[in-house]
Amino acid sequence: MSLVHTRLLVLLALVVMLGSCKKEAPAPEDENELITTVRLKFTENGTTTAQTFTWKDLDGDGGTVPTISPISLRTSRTYKLEVEFLDESKTPAENKTSEILSEADEHLVVVTPSASSLFTYTATDKDSRNFPIGLTGTLVTGSASTGTLKVQLRHQPPVNGQPVKNGTVTPGSDDVNVTFPLTLAP
């Protein structure tokens, strides 16, 4: 076998060898950043009984429609509100609230009424730069009426290494944006 033959063969063998490979088995996808559930816990000032309302979409985006429990509160009361975020698609369910708390400098929970007469919400928790986090706060209801309550989890990560969170809703993007029906009755 001539030298040229040998060289050609070595070249070809090299290509074939480098080209061969091993394959793994397919696996289901796993989203590790999923939030399926928003849970609102209202405790009227001076009492210890909590009312809980949830917004749930256990199979993630699309598929089965979300289930939403309507909120009913009493008029002209002051409530302590605790907001929780969960991933209930996993067993056991993962509580995402602590994760948000650990990154409080780039998260903001905003609770907004459909009409300003429905309620006011004031966050009582603060992040390291003294901006509100909004996971816990005080909600003061107005007079008897119906409307909606919107909960937004704003993700406001630094841009170019500069923090952008400024206590307002504007910077960043929505991680959660859900709306509950709300009824206020005496």
């Binding site: 076998m1 040229v4 033959h5 060289r7 050609l8 063969l9 070249l11 070809l12 090299l14 290509v15 074939v16 480098l18 080209g19 490979c21 394959k23 793994e24 397919p26 696996a27 289901p28 996808e29 796993d30 989203e31 590790n32 950043e33 939030i35 399926t36 928003v38 917004w55 979409d57 993630g60 985006d61 699309g62 429609v65 979300p66 994760e99 650990s102 990154e103 993700h155 990560p157 841009v159 170019n160 290494g161 500069q162 952008v164 504007t170 910077p171 993007s173 929505d174 991680d175 959660v176 944006n177 859900v178 709306t179």
Partner: protein, 791 residues
């Protein structure tokens, strides 16, 4: 035959048949010559009105060679090339001749021609070297159909695009636009179609990545290419049935024949984004191993935040580290080549484009500019994409009795990691990770001319095997697919007519490893179909030629069209696949007229592409409610669509050698026939005017030129009502300016320089085909300097 001898026989069965004769043409070395027409002489009554014409260029610089002498051996006929390197010899009798081209400083080229009416021979001369006086003649194979006019980007035109992305470079060709995701991600769009409908052949291998995604640009280092060729129109027969819109060929130079070391260094600096690009090529032969050659090439790119006329776009930096190595052996009977390339990039995604919900999107549109503006930085943060594409290619060919058998195999691995803004769980894991491996094999036989030399063509067998893994956020399931295709293409010549016809059949098996929750729910699809092409070229006289081609192509639905499910974040839409989709079929009619005179060249190309069962995202009546609010709901649906339009390209030498004008005009109308309406994301009509002054030698810079160009892009008015979150952007005007030339340095080395200003007036505008049009305006003025040193 003993065992030792059997192995090469099996691998190169035809090659080993007559081993002694393979050295016979060993003395044939030199440079490559492309024959456009290579048909045998017809034994019909003699007609002495034949014509041969063409352009003579320097093979390295691609600049025209002035004053080269062309002579037809055995006749008194000769001519010299004009200032554009053009030549023409008329009144030749039909027959077989040898055309000789010579000029001092270059090697003499001789090529045999067969004249029946007129022929075109574009010659590339290479500079003379003492050791090599031999000449090799290589016929241009049926790489593209003659009846489908292909467009080229090479030489100086390609040089002016150095440092830009592949998509941006291709935009120079009439009828090609880009689908952008900001300034750093651009995908070529041919006549309104893109992604899976455009096949990109990277150095002879079908580029396979996640090309379905609008924000997934081709993973190719443009510096690999010495020439970019675009075939506009269905080219399914030769390049795979799914080439519904066309094919882009990215071709490197041939390996050098001379053992001498040569190479080039390219450097480009851009003011916008402060982008720096350096690319180098080194090539040579192996002195002890005759016939062997090698090349190494590498590119580094580093850029920071892009600036619009009014503000910086945060996190729009880019990094690229690419390299390729090639080695091969070649004599005139047999050749082998091995090629490996790696493309590695990290692209920042404009952080102002990250939206979580529809209300986020509406707010930023209302605001008219990003909420967060920053200064300049080179840091790339999340969201970003890490992409790596490895290509290993092997190629062998064997010439026998005028036939040529070639075999090309390739293995590609594409890893695309997309990082979202989120941490900390995903600090190391990307939100989306795609890994796709593709094995390809193409066996092509170019048969020798048949029927008195009037018919030539090729037969081919192609195979593709591919598997994909997706990890992270559910988007598309894992899949595996196999495709086998056979094809044949033939060309006949009669007087001033040329006919082409081809057919192909493909078998595709697709296995999708779908999961419902954690329970496997696999699916199997099988798609088989044929495609064909017929074409004609008529050259009534030396100035005029007509081409017409009718081609069909079909494209099976891709896994994302069948099974995708989820929110498309940048587009604020919920997209869902449909597993009952059928393949789409295109019927493509193209016609073109070309007129060439001494000072004017014009080409009008018209097309009508009718696509049955065209797959697109159709808006649904009800939105999808998610934890991030309601998203508009889109479902992959089929319709019947037509794409009709024309491209006009003219070149007028107002003052020969001094001043010329170039016009490019493209018009496209896309229509949805079932819905009786327009289609979304169709490029707007545009006109480009270019004035070019050539000054020849200015100080020590030769071939000095100044180019002033103006591009007008219309507003896309043909959009379906309520199809978008905002109205399609207004029409815009862009002014660009280029000045450049070349300096001769010591010995054969040269330094080419080009200074450019893009968007010279710093116009603030948005383009309908940029996915970031909602979030920011296009990039502002960009001043660049490009240097190319060859040795």
């Amino acid at each position: 035959m003993n065992k030792k001898k059997l192995l090469p026989y099996l691998i190169f069965p035809l090659y080993s048949v007559r081993p002694r004769r393979r050295w016979q043409y060993q003395f044939f070395a030199g440079w490559v010559l492309f024959l456009l027409f290579h048909f045998a002489y017809a034994q019909t009554p003699k007609d002495c009105h034949c014509l041969i014409k063409g352009v003579v260029k320097d093979r390295e610089t691609r600049l025209p060679i002035v004053g080269a002498i062309l002579r037809i051996e055995g006749t008194p006929l000769f001519t010299t090339t004009d200032t554009a390197g053009r030549y023409k010899i008329s009144n030749i009798c039909q027959g077989k001749y040898t055309l000789e081209c010579r000029i001092v400083g270059y090697k003499v080229i001789k090529t045999s021609i067969v004249l029946e009416h007129s022929a075109e021979e574009n010659l590339n001369l290479s500079e003379d070297e003492v050791h090599l006086q031999d000449v090799e003649i290589v016929a241009r194979r049926l790489q593209t159909l003659l009846s489908q006019k292909s467009s080229l980007l090479e030489g100086q035109a390609l040089e002016l695009t150095r440092g830009e992305t592949l998509g941006d470079a291709l935009k120079r060709i009439t009828g090609i636009t880009t689908l952008q995701t900001g300034a750093s991600i651009s995908k070529p769009v041919i006549h309104g179609l893109h992604s899976n409908r455009v096949v990109i052949m990277n150095n002879g291998i079908r580029q396979e990545g996640q090309q379905w995604g609008s924000e997934h640009a081709p993973e190719i280092d443009p510096f690999i290419a010495k020439r970019l060729t675009v075939v506009k129109g269905a080219a399914g027969v030769r390049y795979g049935s799914d080439a519904i819109a066309g094919v882009i060929l990215v071709e490197p130079d041939e390996l050098p024949k001379s053992p001498q070391l040569s190479g080039e260094v390219n450097a480009a600096a851009f003011s916008n984004g402060r982008i720096g690009v350096v690319s180098g090529t080194l090539q040579g032969g192996l002195p002890q191993w005759k016939g062997w050659a090698w090349r190494i090439q590498g590119t580094l790119k580093n850029g920071g935040n892009i600036r619009t006329p009014d503000y910086f776009m945060a996190n729009t930096g880019v990094r690229e580290n690419n390299f390729s190595i090639t080695t091969g052996y070649r004599n005139n009977r047999v050749g082998v080549e091995a090629f490996f390339s790696q493309f590695d990039s990290n692209i920042g995604i404009f952080s102002g484009s990250h939206i979580g919900s529809t209300s986020d999107l509406l707010k930023v549109i209302q605001n008219g500019e990003p909420f967060i503006k920053t200064g300049f930085t080179r840091n790339i943060e999340r969201p970003n994409q890490f992409i790596r594409h490895n290509l290993l290619k092997g190629k062998a060919y064997y010439n026998f009795n005028g036939n040529r058998l070639s075999w090309t195999i390739g293995r590609q691995f594409n890893r695309r990691a997309e990082y979202d803004l989120h941490g900390p769980q995903a600090a190391t894991n990307p939100a989306l990770l795609f890994r796709i491996t593709t094995l390809t094999s193409d066996l092509v036989l170019d048969h020798k001319p048949l029927g008195n030399g009037k018919m030539n063509g090729q037969l081919g067998l192609t195979g593709l095997y591919q598997y994909n893994f997706t990890d992270g956020r559910p988007l598309i399931p894992d899949f595996e697919q196999t495709n086998i295709g056979i094809f044949g293409l033939e060309r006949w010549v009669f007087q001033r007519w040329e006919l082409e016809a081809g057919a192909r059949f493909d078998w595709r098996q697709l296995d999708v490893f779908r999961f419902v929750g954690t329970v496997p729910d696999p699916r199997h699809h099988s798609f088989n179909n044929g495609s064909g092409t017929v074409g004609v070229v008529h050259t009534p006289n030396e100035k005029l030629s007509f081409r017409a081609n009718f081609g069909t192509a079909w494209r099976p639905p891709t896994p994302n069209e069948l099974y995708s499910k989820g929110v498309h974040h940048g587009a604020a839409s919920y997209e869902e696949g449909d597993e009952t989709l059928r393949p789409e079929v295109a019927y493509n009619l193209i016609g073109s007229v070309e007129y060439t005179s001494q000072r004017f060249k014009g080409e009008l190309g018209m097309y009508h592409n009718q696509i049955s069962d065209f797959i697109y995202l159709k808006p649904q009546a009800e939105p999808i409610l998610t934890i991030r609010g309601a998203f508009p709901y889109f479902k992959y649906t089929q319709t019947d669509a037509t794409f009709t339009g024309f491209d006009l390209d003219t070149q007028w030498d107002v003052i020969p050698q001094r001043f010329s004008h170039n016009l490019k005009f493209s018009y496209l109308r896309a229509y949805d026939r079932r819905e009786q309406g327009y289609l979304v994301l169709i490029p707007a009509n545009r006109i480009e005017n270019k004035l070019r002054w050539s000054f020849g030698k200015v100080f020590s810079s030769k071939d000095t030129y100044v180019i002033l160009s103006h591009l007008w892009v219309d507003k896309q008015r043909r959009v379906p009502p309520k199809s978008d979150f905002m109205d399609s952007p207004s029409a815009y005007h862009l002014w660009n300016f280029n000045v450049g030339g070349a300096l001769s340095l010591k010995g054969p080395s040269q330094l080419h320089w080009a200074f450019s200003v893009q968007n010279a007036l710093n116009t603030s505008y948005r383009d309908y085909l940029n996915r970031f049009r909602y979030f920011a305006t296009e990039q502002g003025r960009n001043i660049s300097l490009k240097l190319r040193y060859t040795f």
